[in-house]
Structures are given as structure tokens and as C-alpha cells.
């Protein structure tokens, strides 16, 4: 090649490649930093007591976040009970039924809801369930707020994965004289099931770390909650309480709590990876 700008072009290419590579590394660095920091500060405080015991009274050392860990799972379970059926069926409606204009409006509303800051969700549920004492600060209110946040997330991902199911499968089923709802449930949803489960899990991972809306609703406490109408603790709430507390032992436990929360979210993400491993392998 005798192009006059040969070396200049090579230089430009190498420069852009390096720039892109540096940016890619910048994306990964925060994750590594977060991990490094949490493990360094929190790992030594993780022991059996951390998972099984209640927080000790202020100033005493020891104890754990058992109630907060259980509380996070209780809140997530309630959120799933609300968010999964409504979100999945809403996604089915968007993908399989409805007029174009109505769908456009619903989709637009869901996208706006997905962008609503989580503290706004908290204030709304505070107004609806806490101020009205129906039932006041409670696990129920916390579950509802997380569930409401899940609905638009699950709805949009469900719609998207249902749209990925080739139309030929719907036609084949309908041409066999299978009713439309059976076609949707047995053929379309079944084909897209992994994608739907993935969307649900990612939505749960997303709301698992929410703190602000829980301050207005679940409120948090320092003991075991036996009734959904009472306040309940959650990992992010307990981390927040301890992080701004005055004692070193609280800070220590806050780090440990943050590490456990990150590992929880990470394990959901890894579970999703595992689920989606051969997702497109079968695509005809």
C-alpha cells in the first residue's frame, strides 16, 4: 500500500482503540473498588451472629443484622407477589392484546414510572398507607412500595421478551385451532419463560437495594417483626442507621451489611446469567 497517509491513519486507529480500551476499564474499576473496599472493611465482621442475632443496644458490641436480612427477604417476597402478576400480565397485554394507541400510552406511562425517583414512590405510599394508618409504618407498606416499583420494570421486560418470540409460533398454534389465550400461555409465554424470569429477577435485584422509599414505609426496627402491619427492618435501612451512628462497632456492621447486600444482588445477577446461558440456542 502506498497511501500517503498510511502511518497517520494507523496512528488514529491505535489512538481510538486505546481510548476505547481505557474507557472500558474505567467502567469496571468502580465495581472492583467497591468490592475491594467492602471486603476489606466488612468481611471480618461477617460471622454466624451477624446473620442470626438482633442488633445490640447502642454502645454494646456484637449482635447482628438477622432481623434486617429476614426483613429484606420478607419485603422482596411481598414485592414479588404484587409486582410479578401485575407486571407479567401487563406485559402480556402490551405484547399480545390492545389497540396500538392504548399500548403506546401504557408503554409511555410505564417508561415514565421507571424513571420516577424512588423517594417519590416512598412519599406516595407514605401518604396512602402510613398517614392514613392503613396500616401505618409497616412491612406491608414497604412491600407495596417495592412491588409498585417492580410493576413497570417487569411489564416492559416481559413485553420485550414476548415480542422476541417469532410470530410463526403464534400462527402455527392458532392454525391448529388452539384458542388465543391458550396459545399465549402454553406457547408464547412458555417460549419466553426464561426471559420473563430474568426480567423478574433483575427487577427484584433492583428494588432489593432501595433505601429511601423504605424509610417512609417499612421504617425499620431493632427486633424481629412478627406481623406485617408492624414496621420491619431491611438491610439498606440498617446499613443507613449504622453508618450514621456514633459507634465504631456500628460502622463495622454497616460495612458487613453492605457487603452482604451486594453479594445478594450479585448472586441474583449470576443466577440470571446461569438462566440465560442457552437462551438463544434453541431459536429456530
Amino acid at each position: 500500500m502506498t497511501a500517503p497517509n498510511h502511518s497517520w491513519r494507523n496512528f488514529k486507529n491505535a489512538f481510538m482503540q486505546t481510548l476505547a480500551c481505557v474507557c472500558a476499564i474505567l467502567v469496571v474499576t468502580p465495581l472492583l473498588l467497591v468490592f475491594y473496599h467492602l471486603i476489606r472493611e466488612g468481611f471480618s465482621s461477617i460471622n454466624l451472629a451477624f446473620f442470626t442475632q438482633l442488633p445490640k443496644p447502642e454502645g454494646e458490641t456484637g449482635g447482628g443484622m438477622g432481623n434486617a436480612i429476614v426483613g429484606t427477604f420478607v419485603l422482596l417476597a411481598q414485592a414479588a407477589v404484587i409486582g410479578v402478576p401485575v407486571g407479567v400480565l401487563g406485559g402480556v397485554f402490551l405484547s399480545e392484546y390492545g389497540g396500538t394507541k392504548l399500548n403506546w400510552a401504557i408503554r409511555f406511562a410505564a417508561d415514565i414510572l421507571n424513571g420516577v425517583p424512588s423517594i417519590n414512590w416512598g412519599i406516595v405510599i407514605y401518604g396512602l398507607m402510613v398517614e392514613s394508618h392503613l396500616p401505618g409504618y409497616s412491612a406491608l407498606a414497604g412491600g407495596v412500595v417495592l412491588g409498585m416499583m417492580m410493576i413497570p420494570l417487569v411489564m416492559r421486560t416481559t413485553e420485550e421478551v414476548l415480542q422476541l418470540v417469532p410470530g410463526g409460533y403464534r400462527e402455527a398454534a392458532l392454525a391448529l385451532g388452539i384458542a388465543k389465550w391458550k396459545t399465549i400461555v402454553q406457547i408464547v409465554i412458555r417460549t419466553a419463560l426464561k426471559g420473563i424470569v430474568t426480567g423478574v429477577l433483575l427487577a427484584m435485584a433492583r428494588v432489593a437495594g432501595e433505601t429511601a422509599p423504605l424509610m417512609f414505609t417499612a421504617f425499620g426496627n431493632q427486633h424481629w417483626t412478627h406481623n406485617l402491619t408492624e414496621p420491619i427492618s431491611a438491610l439498606p435501612l440498617q446499613i443507613f442507621t449504622y453508618a450514621i451512628g456514633p459507634y465504631n462497632d456500628q460502622h463495622r456492621q454497616a460495612w458487613a451489611g453492605a457487603l452482604v447486600l451486594l453479594l445478594l444482588v450479585l448472586s441474583i445477577n449470576i443466577g440470571v446469567r446461569f438462566l440465560t446461558r442457552d437462551r438463544f440456542q434453541q431459536k429456530a
Binding site: L176, G177, I187
Partner: protein, 259 residues
């Protein structure tokens, strides 16, 4: 108005059929008698309305919300567009095989063949097993898959997948089988198998096949209808359409002068 040329029993009687998508007429005033237990081929250039015509026969065009039809289609004297007839019932009696093979990817070979029965409430294992063997034999696939009925359907080759789709359509025991270019995505060997299959199926079924392949229409069909710009130009015994067509446009098309 062209009708059944040899006056034997008509499985489908179509009168004045027009299909519109919005304002555009894809099929214009078509009347035709489809002979029972024979193969009728529908030929014509792309966009001539032959697929739309086929889909109107089992009301599949209704999946398109803009579609609208006029005219009448009778299946053995029963109006399939009557207000009391549901599209689901029509499609159980008039099956369809598509251009692109579409076995359900989450299901095994057995589950694919029996899906139409199972989702319509048939649970008896014995009936399902019998119907599976019967349908796969008719689709000339039994010997190739009898030892791996529980293997995923997508593990089959392209030609096998299309024959599986034919078996799946046959398992619900329709009276008419519509085929929309069933071999156009297959290699010549697999195509030949599908054609043999079509010829052998006409003992029991009324078959309507849309094809782009002139040789296929000539080899496999008893009657041929030539569509052009949404109209039925000519309809008659296949030998006559290919050797001595009445219309100039038909002759031009079958001899490859246009289309």
C-alpha cells in the same frame, strides 16, 4: 366465472371473495370450487394475493386487525364466516402448514405432534400415542424419529422439521390442509420428499398449496389456479393450465415470460 372443472364433490366453495387490508384489495372477487381429496395448486407472481387467499380459507387473515373480507366461503356447505361459527372451530377443520417450519422450540417431537390435541383437552396417553404414530407415518417421518420421540423438535433437520409441522397439522385430523409454499426453504431432496408426501396425502385430505415453483405445481397438483394482481385469471386441471391455457397471461406466466 371459473368453477370446479370436473364437477366432482367440492370441499370448499368460494364465491365472490375479496380481502382488503385497509383500502387495498389483496384478493378481488374470487370464485372457485376446491375439489375434495385432490391437490389444488395456486400459482402467481409475488404479491398476487395467493397467500392472502389461502389465509382467508381458515380465517388466519383475521390476525391482521386491518383485514376485512367480503363474499362467502363454504366448507362442505357450511358457511365458515357465519356469525355462529368461531374461527377456532374453522381452523380445527382446516389446517395450515407455513413456508418457514415452526416447530415449538420448548417441546419434544412427541409434544409438538400432540400439542393441538392436548391443548384441546385430549389427555388419554393411548390416544395421543396412536395419533402420534399415525400422523408421523402419514408425514413420512415415523421411521426417522420413532426412537427419539422425546428429543427436542429443534434437533431435527430443516426438512424433517417441516414434515413434523405437517404431522402436527394432521394430528388434529383436519378435513382440508392448506400449505403456504411448504418447500420453498428446503433443499431439492427435502422438497422431493414433501412433494411425494403431498401426493400421498390426497387419498385422505383436500390439499391447497401455494407455490412459486412451476414444476412443483405441475408434478404434485391435480388442479391449478393462476392468480394475478389479486384476481383469479384461470382455473382448471393442471395439465390443461400447463399445456393449453385459455388465457394469454396464464401462458406467459407458466412459460416463464413474466413473474
Amino acid at each position: 366465472m371459473p368453477t370446479d372443472p370436473n364437477n366432482s364433490a367440492a370441499a370448499l366453495t368460494v364465491r365472490g371473495l375479496s380481502v382488503f387490508f385497509g383500502d387495498r384489495a389483496a384478493v378481488k372477487n374470487v370464485s372457485i370450487d376446491i375439489t375434495a381429496k385432490a391437490v389444488t395448486a395456486i400459482i402467481g407472481p409475488s404479491g398476487c394475493g395467493k397467500s392472502t387467499f389461502l389465509r382467508a380459507i381458515n380465517r388466519m387473515h383475521e390476525l391482521n386487525p386491518d383485514a376485512r373480507m367480503e363474499g362467502e366461503i363454504k366448507l362442505f356447505d357450511e358457511d365458515i364466516y357465519s356469525r355462529t361459527v368461531q374461527s377456532v372451530t374453522v381452523r380445527r377443520r382446516i389446517g395450515m402448514v407455513f413456508q418457514k417450519s415452526n416447530p415449538f422450540p420448548t417441546m419434544s417431537i412427541f409434544e409438538n405432534v400432540t400439542v393441538g390435541l392436548r391443548l384441546n383437552g385430549i389427555r388419554d396417553r393411548k390416544i395421543l400415542a396412536e395419533r402420534t404414530e399415525e400422523s408421523l407415518r402419514m408425514a413420512a417421518l415415523w421411521d426417522e424419529v420413532k426412537d427419539r420421540l422425546n428429543a427436542p423438535a429443534v434437533s431435527l433437520s430443516g426438512g424433517q422439521q417441516q414434515r413434523l409441522c405437517i404431522a402436527r397439522a394432521l394430528a388434529v385430523q383436519p378435513e382440508v390442509l392448506l400449505m403456504d409454499e411448504p418447500a420453498s426453504a428446503l433443499d431439492p431432496l427435502a422438497t422431493a420428499k414433501i412433494e411425494d408426501l403431498i401426493v400421498s396425502l390426497k387419498k385422505d385430505y383436500t390439499i391447497v398449496i401455494v407455490t412459486h415453483n412451476m414444476q412443483q405445481a405441475a408434478r404434485a397438483s391435480d388442479f391449478t389456479a393462476f392468480f394475478y394482481l389479486g384476481e383469479l385469471v384461470e382455473f382448471g386441471p393442471t395439465t390443461k393450465i400447463f399445456t393449453n391455457p385459455a388465457q394469454k397471461r396464464t401462458e406467459d406466466y407458466v412459460t416463464g415470460r413474466f413473474g
